[in-house]
Subunit: 135 residues, 2 copies
């Protein structure tokens, strides 16, 4: 059987904007670092370079994670889910900081049932991130 050269790309159920959500997990600790989005081009570049390249919906541009902060994400493994509409990337997080706020990961607001609100639980590791922006 001959498959089209980009069958692996066509296998993904891209949404109406041509994107797919990506869960990024620290390959060593198992911590979920962030959720972001990829386009066909960013996934292709990710596989080619071995570094995570997302699609920034706010900037409408390819976003090589770490290109301004130095906090690259080296791909350890990449997985697709049952419905082919979500990716899971296990990465080595360079510098140990994935979040633009200077925290290890982005999920630093915990639901507090007593307060009935979100409370910040994770410390800022690095202030004044070089080139940090709201991605």
């Amino acid at each position: 059987m001959v498959t089209a050269p980009n069958a692996w790309l066509a296998a993904i159920a891209w949404n109406e904007a041509g994107l797919v959500p990506v869960v990024t997990q620290d390959a060593t600790s198992g911590e979920v670092l962030m959720l972001a989005w990829m386009s066909r081009e960013s996934l292709s570049q990710t596989l080619q370079s071995g570094d995570m390249v997302y699609w920034s919906r706010s900037r409408n541009a390819l976003w090589r994670k770490g290109e301004t902060s130095g906090h690259f994400q080296r791909v350890v493994e990449l997985r697709l889910d049952c419905d082919a509409d979500a990716l899971l990337a296990k990465v080595e997080q360079v510098g140990g900081i994935a979040c633009h706020t200077g925290r290890r990961g982005c999920f630093f607001k915990l639901w507090d049932a007593r307060m009935r609100d979100w409370v910040i639980t994770e410390p800022v590791i690095a202030l004044d991130q070089p080139g940090a922006f709201r991605e």
Copy 2:
């Protein structure tokens, strides 16, 4: 300061369809089980009941995980990310099976760089899931 009773709900950056993506992680093993979506109502019901209640985009309906399969997801903790546009739920997965294919989790297709394709790595634990459907 008096905050509106539903300020915690308004704090979330719901997308144009009124949904937010949710990463669901096994609280014990750290395995990322699935990615699904929640509406305001499903998040409210999740917090009220302590079991994960998603919004099924294919069925356009509230979806109490496990209501047909028995594989409920008990909420251990719930987190919101920096941009408030993604949730992370750590859960206790009843029955140890989150995926409708009868696998532990949904991310069972691994990128194989040599094959240049997705290859299935995880075994089916339970065949003939009661009430299984493509959620």
